[in-house]
Every structure is written in structure tokens, then in C-alpha cells.
């Protein structure tokens, strides 16, 4: 199966600044791979390097083992979906989708067949004669996708393709893109700054920051076991309690937090006792209990505090609980009928399992 992309030691400098600072990544054939990160993290530059619009200052790019570092964009054979779609305004939908085929000198018959197939796939069969100005954002998006897959490339690059759509439509389009990718078995390299989108669609994702990869992995693994504070905070909500590693015993690490309390977490190799660390726990793993309840026999972590803020998010109530001055934990209470929602300023107890706690380098 074709469609492997390999980036080795890629560097891109803009003047003094290193926009991409040594990226190594291998994307397997048929994989949906996302590059995510805040703006300025180098994700779009990385994609432009793949597409051929930003020359690599260092490093190499291989596709199916062939070095294409110096190939011009039109020789790379990728399908590309651009931010804001880049639909040609002077061509109708049919001719937009036909563009890659005509550029490759296909016969009229082939063009008609392939364009018909691609428009079917994105459910735009009745729109062939329209122009981009007569289409909604979602429809333009579909045209851009049809145009990128019409010549059946093994690799498709997408640069924030859903950024301009509203939330509900975005979710539907995510599912559709994912379906098309799976049906055609193509490799997709997808750039987004939306972490939910990346988690929803990707087989694997890479989190970028300052032109470097902070972590690569399957979404669940990266979410559950972030490599560092940046990843923990970037991918979803995170509680990060600063402290120092007090001791390690029986696969458990004990962290003495800034508030003087001790919390336990899964041990992490390579962190010395006394080192500055951060205790990490996801808000949905922390449960509320009545204040003043005894230390649990099961040995889970406990804390007590005052509800500082509540935000209703539909599926859950997010409570911020102040357990010490300047130390607040976020707790997500699922919106199920029997859950009791505490009032602001109410004193509550918190409990979470040691298995749900990690220590990250300070």
C-alpha cells in the first residue's frame, strides 16, 4: 500500500526564527495523522513543507521511501485542501473538481467519469454547474475535498479545512472526511488547532510547540498520559498541582504539594526524589464528596475546599474548587439526574484515584 510520508530532521528558518525546529515523523500508509498546536507552533509551516511551498532548510522528505525534498509542488502528487477552500471563482464546481485531471492531461471521458464519482462521494452531484459564490461554506468545503481526491492521490494534506464552519456543521464534516478517508484508504495529514477535532478524527496525532514535536501518539494515550505540562494543558482541561517529589514506594510516587498536603500518583521513572514536579489529574476523574469525610480506605487522593466558580457546559457542570490560597482544582460533574451540584462557596471534599494521577516534569 502506498502513502507513507517520512519527515526527517526538518528545519525551516524565517530569518533568525526557527519556525520548524527539527521535526521527525513517519506517517503510515492509510493513516489519519493530525498536526496540532497553538498558532505559531509550526504546524502550518510543516504542512507547507510537505506540500512543497516552503523549502526545507535542513532535513529530508520521503514518500514511499523516495526522496522528494526538492520536488516542486505540482510533481508531488498530493491532494491538498486549503484553509478557506481556495475554490477557483472563475470555474464552476465541475471544472474546479476537474482541474487536477485536466492539468494531468486526462481525456474528456475520464474527466467526466472521475468528476462524477468525486461529486457523488461528497454529495454534490446536483451542483456541477454552480460557481463558488452560489455555494454555502459547507458546500465549498465539499468541492475542495472532491478536488483533492478526484485523481485518487494516496496522500491528502488538509490545512485547517473546517476552520471557517460553525460548530455543528464542523462535526458533521469531520465524520464525513473520516468516512471518505477510510473508504479510500488514503493517508491524510491534517492540520488543526482544534484539539477535539484532532482527537475525534486522528489515528495518531502530533502536538507541536515552538516548531518542535512535544508528543506523538494515539489520541487516547496522549490525553491520558501527556508527556509534559504543555501537552496536558493543550489537549483538554488539566489540573496541574506544583510540588516536589517526596518519595517513591511500591510503584507510587508521593508529591508534596505547595499547600503542604501529600498526593500520590503513578511513579514515573527517571524523576529523582526532591525534584520539582507537577501533579496531573483530568477534571472528569475527580469526584465530589461531602466535606469532612474520612480519608478513604482505598487510599485515593483527597482534598477539601470551597467552590469558587461554576460553569454549566451542557453535558457537565464544571466546578472550580479552591483547596488552598492560589491553588484551585477543576472538577467536571457529569450532568446525570442524580448528581448533586454544589453551591458557590460551599465546602466540598474531592477524591480521585492514584491511577488517575500522573507526575510530570516541573
Amino acid at each position: 500500500m502506498r502513502g507513507t510520508v517520512e519527515l526527517r530532521g526538518a528545519v525551516k528558518r524565517f530569518g533568525e526564527e526557527r519556525a520548524v525546529d527539527g521535526i521527525d515523523v513517519t506517517v503510515g500508509a492509510g493513516e489519519f495523522f493530525s498536526l496540532i498546536g497553538p498558532s505559531g507552533s509550526g504546524k502550518t509551516t510543516t504542512l507547507m513543507m510537505l506540500a512543497g511551498f516552503a523549502a526545507l532548510d535542513e532535513g529530508r522528505l520521503l514518500v514511499d521511501g523516495v526522496d522528494i525534498t526538492a520536488a516542486p509542488p505540482q510533481r508531488r502528487g498530493f491532494g491538498v485542501v486549503f484553509q478557506n477552500y481556495a475554490i477557483f471563482p472563475h470555474l464552476n464546481v465541475f471544472e474546479n473538481v476537474a482541474f487536477p485531471l485536466r492539468a494531468r492531461g486526462k481525456t474528456d471521458r475520464e474527466v467526466r467519469e472521475r468528476v462524477g464519482w468525486a461529486l457523488d462521494l461528497v454529495q454534490l452531484s446536483g451542483f456541477a454547474e454552480r460557481f463558488s459564490r452560489q455555494l454555502s461554506g459547507g458546500q465549498q468545503q465539499r468541492v475542495a475535498i472532491a478536488r483533492a481526491i478526484v485523481f485518487e492521490p494516496s496522500i491528502v494534506l488538509m490545512d485547517e479545512p473546517l476552520g471557517a464552519l460553525d460548530k455543528n456543521l464542523r462535526y458533521d464534516m469531520q465524520m464525513e472526511i473520516k468516512d471518505i478517508q477510510r473508504r479510500l484508504g488514503m493517508t491524510v495529514i491534517y492540520v488543526t488547532h482544534d484539539q477535539e477535532e484532532a482527537m475525534n478524527m486522528s489515528d495518531r496525532l502530533a502536538i507541536l510547540n515552538h516548531g518542535r514535536i512535544e508528543q506523538i501518539g494515539v489520541p487516547l494515550e496522549v490525553y491520558e498520559r501527556p508527556a509534559n505540562r504543555f501537552v496536558g494543558r493543550f489537549l483538554g482541561e488539566a489540573n496541574l498541582v506544583p510540588g516536589s517529589l517526596a518519595r517513591v514506594a511500591g510503584g507510587e510516587a508521593v508529591v508534596r504539594a505547595a499547600d503542604g498536603r501529600e498526593y500520590r500518583a503513578r511513579a514515573r521513572p527517571g524523576v529523582a526524589v526532591g525534584a520539582e514536579v507537577v501533579l496531573f489529574a483530568r477534571p472528569e476523574r475527580i469526584a465530589l464528596s461531602a466535606a469532612g469525610a474520612d480519608a478513604a480506605a482505598d487510599g485515593s487522593n483527597r482534598a477539601e475546599g470551597r467552590v469558587y466558580r461554576r460553569s454549566f457546559l451542557g453535558g457537565m457542570m464544571r466546578c472550580v474548587v479552591e483547596i488552598a490560597p492560589e491553588l484551585r482544582l477543576t472538577v467536571d460533574i457529569p450532568n446525570v439526574g442524580h448528581a448533586r451540584i454544589p453551591e458557590i462557596d460551599e465546602r466540598v471534599g474531592l477524591a480521585w484515584a492514584v491511577a488517575d494521577s500522573l507526575i510530570l516534569p516541573g
Binding site: 506540500a51 509542488p73 505540482q74 477557483f88 471563482p89 472563475h90 482541474f99 492539468a103 460557481f131 483533492a148
Partner: protein, 279 residues
């Protein structure tokens, strides 16, 4: 009408008044007086017909259209690459080229025309240089002919073409060109299928502007042309100044005005279409 629209109309009022008092009213008065008051209205169709079919008028019309087409074609051929360069470069190189395009634009037409006469004259710089290089024995007849008119007018009108094309090219979203290349199109194909069509309304607008200005040109052709190269504007001037035949002059002016307005209507449609296409 919104409040902003009303305010805008109010702000335009002095310009409207100015235009009416100094242009439309005198023009109408000129037409009415020469065609309906000085002559009898009954003779009007005959006058128009005889002027329109007179030999000098026919020759001048053909010459005017031919010269204007040549000037338009040449400014387009020279202007397109120039505008492309401007639209795709920034910094000092852009400044230098735009300076070279704009400065002549603000210089008097007469000054520019005389400069060309110095260059193209019998003992002008071009002939001297060619003679010294041994390319020619006799000076070439570069001045006082159609060639000179076309060169001079193309030079004077080039900035209109360049600036119109530049505006059209600047409005082309560079992402479209990237998309075309990413989807497998080479440089020539991108130009033919994307860049040229998207800049086409600029080509049409620029060509119309240059053509409209060309057909009414007077100074350059009368200074640089030969005795047989008479354009309509020169014929009008001769009728007024030399033969004192105001009726002929009026009919010819009307003709020129009508053609100009017609072309302007086309120009207006083109810019309107551009808005529709969103390019």
C-alpha cells in the same frame, strides 16, 4: 436610503454642480446652438449625413480606430508583464518600478511628447546611435508618421494600462495559485487556466480605458504625426480653427462623445461583472 447614503450624496453635491456648470451645460449649449439655432433644425439630418460621409471624416475615423487599436495592443503587451512584476514584488524593487510608471503619469503630455521628438527626430538620439553603430547609412524616418504617433501615445497611456492591470492582479488571491500548483498544474498551465482568466477583467478594463483615451487624443498625434496622419480630434480642431466650420466640428464632437459613452458603458459592465465573479 440610509443615513450614510444621504450623507454621501450630500458630499458629492459640489462635484455634481461643478460637473454640470463647467461641462454638461456648456456642451449641451454648444450642440444646441450650432445645430439648432445657427442652422435650421430641418437641415440637421442632412448636415449630420454629409459630415459623417465626408472623405476627411472617413479617413480620420479609420486612422483613429487603427492607431487606437495599435496603441491599445502595444500598451497591453508592455503593460501586462510590468503589472505582473509590480503585483508580485515588494520593497525597493516595487518602489523603483512604480516610480518609473507614475512619474511620467504626472508629467505634462507636451513635455513627454517633445522628449520623444528629441529621441526620434532625423538627427535624434536613436538615429545618431544607429548611424554611429554602422547599422544605418541614412537616418530612419522615425518621426512624423504613424509609427511615431503610436510610440508616443503608447508611452503616454501606458500608466493607465499598468495601474488598471496592477489593481486586477493584486486582487487575485495567491492561495488560488498555490492550490493550482498543489493540484498538479505547472507554471504555464497555472497562468493559462487561473492567472490569465482572473486578470482578464483588468485586461478588458485597461484596454477600454486606453482605447477611450486614444480615440480623443490630440497633442501627441498633432506634434508627432505626418501631414496625412489626421485623427478625429485633430480634424475637429482644424474645423474650428482653420475652416471655421463649427457645424462639422459639432457633428464630429457628437460622434466622438457617443463612441466614448458607449465604450464607457461597456467598461462599466465589465467592472460590474468583476464584482459578480468576485475575482
Amino acid at each position: 436610503m440610509t443615513r450614510i447614503d444621504r450623507q454621501a450624496t450630500f458630499l458629492m453635491l459640489p462635484s455634481y454642480v461643478m460637473l454640470a456648470v463647467t461641462f454638461i451645460v456648456p456642451l449641451m449649449w454648444f450642440f444646441v446652438r450650432t445645430l439648432l439655432i445657427d442652422a435650421s433644425p430641418a437641415a440637421l439630418p442632412g448636415t449630420i449625413l454629409s459630415v459623417a460621409t465626408s472623405r476627411p471624416m472617413l479617413i480620420a475615423t479609420v486612422a483613429t480606430i487603427w492607431i487606437s487599436l495599435l496603441v491599445t495592443g502595444i500598451s497591453l503587451l508592455l503593460g501586462y508583464p510590468l503589472a505582473y512584476y509590480l503585483a508580485n514584488h515588494g520593497g525597493p524593487r516595487f518602489t523603483l518600478v512604480i516610480f518609473c510608471v507614475i512619474v511620467p503619469y504626472f508629467t505634462s503630455v507636451i513635455v513627454r511628447t517633445y522628449s520623444w521628438m528629441v529621441l526620434l527626430g532625423r538627427n535624434g538620439i536613436v538615429n545618431q546611435a544607429l548611424a554611429r553603430l554602422g547599422v544605418i547609412d541614412e537616418p530612419l524616418p522615425l518621426l512624423y508618421n504613424k509609427f511615431a504617433i503610436v510610440v508616443g501615445m503608447a508611452y503616454v497611456l501606458l500608466p493607465y494600462m499598468v495601474l488598471t492591470l496592477y489593481a486586477a492582479m493584486k486582487a487575485i488571491d495567491p492561495v488560488l495559485l498555490r492550490a493550482a500548483r498543489a493540484l498538479g498544474a505547472g507554471g504555464a498551465y497555472v497562468f493559462r487556466r487561473v492567472y490569465l482568466p482572473l486578470s482578464l477583467h483588468g485586461v478588458i478594463s485597461g484596454a477600454l480605458i486606453v482605447f477611450i483615451l486614444s480615440i480623443g487624443f490630440f497633442i501627441t498625434p498633432s506634434l508627432m504625426g505626418g501631414p496625412s496622419d489626421v485623427m478625429i480630434a485633430m480634424l475637429i480642431e482644424r474645423s474650428v480653427e482653420i475652416t471655421l466650420d463649427w457645424q462639422t466640428a459639432t457633428v464630429m464632437s457628437l460622434f466622438l462623445l457617443a463612441v466614448t459613452l458607449l465604450l464607457y458603458a461597456v467598461y462599466y459592465r465589465v467592472t460590474d461583472i468583476r464584482r459578480l465573479v468576485g475575482g
